[in-house]
C-alpha cells in the first residue's frame, strides 16, 4: 500500500475501517525512517515506545474508545518536551536532557490517541532559517539533498515531505513553520498567538513563539490545529476563546471573501519562479470566487530589525536558565577547576551553545542593556505596535492577507550560513505575523524550474483561522500537488 503520501484523514479512514492497524501503520513509518533518514537527518530521536503506543491505540479502538487522532503517528519537533523521551532543542546544552514532564501540545495530541513517532531536527534553540545550526548536523531537503529544508522546523518539514511521518508539529517564532513548509512543499500553520499553549516548549521568544501543524493537506492542518488549540491554565498567555471545528467547517468556495495582496511583499525582489507562483495563486483565488485587492503595510519593511531586537532580547533572558546547575550540559572542570561562579557559567554556556545562539543572546543582551534599551528594545516594541495597527486596519478591508512565503525557493546548504544578516533576511515576509500575533500559513502551489517547491503565504485577523483555512483549501484544490513525493521517496 502506498501510505507515505496519504493525508491524516485518509489514514484515519483506513484505521477506522480496519484495513490497517495502528501498529502496522506506525511500523510502516518507522521502517521508512530507518531506510531514508540517515541520508535526510530529519530525526534526532526515534521513539522506541512508538510501537507500544500504537498497540495501545489498537486496543483502545477494539474497546470502542474514540480519539480524533487515534492510532495516527505524529512527529514532534525536538523543541517540545516529551516526558521520558530525550528533548535536545538540537543543542549540546540539552544533548542528554530527558524531561520529567510533557508539553501541553504533546499531552493533547496523545489525549486524542496520537502516537509519538520521534523528535525532529531543527536549528539549535529554534534560532535559524535553514536547520544548518543543529548540533546533530543539518537536515537535507528531500527534493534536493544539496539544499536546505528551511528552518528552524526543518526536520519537521522534511519528514512530512519525504513521507516519513504523515504529520509533524513545528514551532514558529519568525517563520520557522511557514518557511520550511514552503521550502519542502507542504502545509505549515502558525496559529494566532494565544491559541496554542507554550507550556513545555523550550522558549525562544515568549511573545512570538507558537507551535503548529506541518502536514500534507490543509484539512489535516486544520484538524491538528483543533486538537492542540485552546486555553491552558499552565500558560498565562493562552486565550479563552473557543476553538471552532475548523476542519469540519472548511470550504474552498470563496465568493464574498476578499484577498488582500500585500504591496510591499509582491513588489519586493522576488525570484522569477516565486513571482510566477504568486501570480498563479492570485488567479486561483479569483477562480474560487474571491475578490482580490491590494493593501499596503508600510512598516512591514522594518519587520526584520523589529523582530530581531524583540526576539533576541526575550531569548537572552529565556536562555539564561541554561547554566549546567540543575540539568543539561556542564563543562568539564576536572582538569581546570572554575575559579569563580562567573567562570563556571561562562565556560559551560560558551561550550554548550553554538555560535548562532551565542550571537543572538548577545544581541539581545545588548539591546536590553543600560544605555541601549530605549534605542533598541523599546523602539522595536513601539514600531511593533504601529505595524500591528496597520495590519488591523488592513483586515478591516480584507479577509485574508496574501503574499509569498520567501523571496526564493530553498537555497543550497552552506550558502548563507556564514553571513548572519543574509540569513536573517530570509524571514522578511514571515516575521510580521509573529510580531502582530495573527495566524499565518504556507500552502504549496508549485515548483521552481529546478524542481524545488514553492509555497505562498496567507494570514488572517487574530482568531480568524477559518477564512485562512478556506482560502488555503481553494489553492490546494487547484494546485493538485499534495500527493506528490520527491524522487526516490
Amino acid at each position: 500500500m502506498t501510505l507515505q503520501n496519504k493525508s491524516l484523514f485518509e489514514l484515519r479512514k483506513l484505521l477506522e475501517q480496519k484495513e490497517i492497524s495502528s501498529k502496522e501503520l506506525t511500523g510502516f513509518f518507522l521502517e521508512r525512517i530507518e531506510r531514508f533518514d540517515s541520508a535526510l537527518n530529519s530525526f534526532v530521536t526515534v521513539n522506541d515506545q512508538a510501537l507500544a503506543q500504537a498497540e495501545r491505540a489498537d486496543e483502545k479502538r477494539a474497546r470502542g474508545e474514540k480519539g480524533k487522532l487515534l492510532g495516527l503517528p505524529v512527529g514532534i519537533k525536538d523543541l517540545l518536551c516529551t516526558k521520558g523521551l530525550k528533548t535536545t532543542a538540537a543543542s549540546k546544552m540539552l544533548e542528554n536532557f530527558v524531561p520529567p514532564y510533557s508539553a501541553t501540545v504533546v499531552t493533547r495530541l496523545e489525549g486524542e490517541g496520537a502516537v509519538t513517532l520521534g523528535k525532529l531536527n531543527q536549528d539549535e534553540f529554534a534560532m535559524g532559517s535553514s536547520s544548518e545550526n543543529s548540533y546533530f548536523g543539518p537536515t537535507k531537503n528531500p527534493w534536493n539533498p544539496q539544499f536546505v529544508p528551511g528552518g528552524s522546523s526543518g526536520g519537521s518539514a522534511a519528514a512530512v515531505a519525504a513521507g516519513l511521518a504523515p504529520a509533524t508539529i513545528g514551532t514558529d517564532t519568525g517563520g520557522s513553520i511557514r518557511q520550511p513548509a514552503g521550502f519542502c512543499g507542504i502545509v505549515g500553520v502558525k496559529p494566532t498567538y494565544g491559541r496554542v499553549s507554550r507550556y513545555g516548549i523550550v522558549a525562544f521568544a515568549s511573545s512570538l513563539d507558537q507551535a503548529g501543524p506541518m502536514t500534507r493537506t490543509v484539512k489535516d492542518a486544520a484538524l491538528i490545529s483543533e486538537v492542540i488549540s485552546g486555553f491552558d491554565p499552565y500558560d498565562s498567555t493562552t486565550s479563552e476563546k473557543s476553538v471552532p471545528a475548523w476542519s469540519e467547517k472548511i470550504s474552498g468556495a470563496l465568493s464574498g471573501k476578499t484577498i488582500g495582496v500585500i504591496k510591499e511583499f509582491v513588489e519586493a525582489k522576488l525570484h522569477p519562479d516565486v513571482k510566477e507562483q504568486v501570480d498563479r495563486a492570485l488567479a486561483m483565488f479569483k477562480e474560487a470566487g474571491a475578490t482580490v485587492k491590494e493593501v499596503s503595510l508600510p512598516h512591514s519593511d522594518l519587520s526584520i530589525p523589529v523582530y530581531y531586537m524583540v526576539a533576541t532580547s526575550e531569548a537572552s533572558s529565556n536562555l539564561a536558565r541554561y547554566d549546567g546547575v540543575r540539568y543539561g550540559f556542564r563543562a568539564d572542570f576536572s582538569a581546570h577547576p572554575a575559579e569563580s561562579v562567573e567562570e563556571f557559567y561562562c565556560r559551560t554556556r560558551g561550550e554548550g551553545f553554538g555560535s548562532e545562539v551565542k550571537r543572538r543572546i548577545m544581541l539581545g543582551t545588548y539591546a536590553l542593556s543600560s544605555g541601549y534599551y530605549d534605542a533598541y528594545y523599546k523602539k522595536a516594541g513601539q514600531i511593533r505596535r504601529l505595524l500591528a495597527d496597520q495590519f488591523m486596519a488592513a483586515f478591516k478591508q480584507v479577509d485574508v492577507l496574501f503574499g509569498p512565503v520567501t523571496a526564493s525557493p530553498a537555497f543550497a546548504i552552506g550558502d548563507r550560513v556564514s553571513d548572519p544578516l543574509a540569513m536573517y533576511l530570509n524571514d522578511i515576509f514571515t516575521t510580521s505575523a509573529n510580531l502582530v500575533g495573527v495566524p499565518g500559513m504556507s500552502v504549496p502551489v508549485g515548483f521552481s524550474k529546478e524542481g524545488l517547491p514553492i509555497g505562498v503565504q496567507l494570514m488572517a485577523a487574530p482568531f480568524q483561522e477559518q477564512v485562512m483555512f478556506d482560502a488555503a483549501l481553494a489553492l490546494e484544490e487547484r494546485a493538485g500537488i499534495s500527493e506528490r513525493l520527491p524522487n526516490g521517496y
Binding site: S236, E240, V325, C346, K379, G381, R384, L386, L435
Partner: protein, 95 residues
C-alpha cells in the same frame, strides 16, 4: 561601530565564553547587523506604547492550592550534572 572590547563586555554580561573564531568575527557581524537595524530610528514613535503581548487576552490567575509534584525534584536532582544527596552541587559561590 562595535569594538572587540565591547563584544567581550557583552559576552561577560551574558556569561558566554567565546572561541577564537567568534572573538574575531562577532564585532564585524554585530556592526553589520546593528547598522542594518539603524533604520528603526527614522520612525517617529513619540507617545507610542510598546506592544508586548500581540493579541488581546484576559488576565488569569490561579487559586492558592499547593500541589505535590510527585518526586519531580528527586528525579531532576538524580539526573543533574552534579549533586550531593538531594541538593544540586556547584563550585563555591563567593559572596
Amino acid at each position: 561601530m562595535i569594538s572587540k572590547d565591547q563584544i567581550l563586555k557583552i559576552a561577560k554580561l551574558a556569561r558566554l565564553s567565546l572561541n577564537k573564531q567568534e572573538e574575531e568575527q562577532f564585532a564585524d557581524q554585530f556592526s553589520a547587523i546593528l547598522g542594518y537595524f539603524e533604520q528603526m530610528s527614522a520612525v517617529n514613535t513619540e507617545g507610542v506604547e510598546p506592544l508586548i503581548t500581540p493579541t488581546e487576552m484576559e488576565f488569569h490567575w490561579r487559586e492558592d492550592e499547593a500541589v505535590q509534584w510527585q518526586n519531580m525534584g528527586s528525579e531532576v536532582v538524580e539526573r543533574s550534572p552534579d549533586h550531593s544527596g538531594k541538593l544540586f552541587k556547584v563550585p563555591p559561590v563567593v559572596g
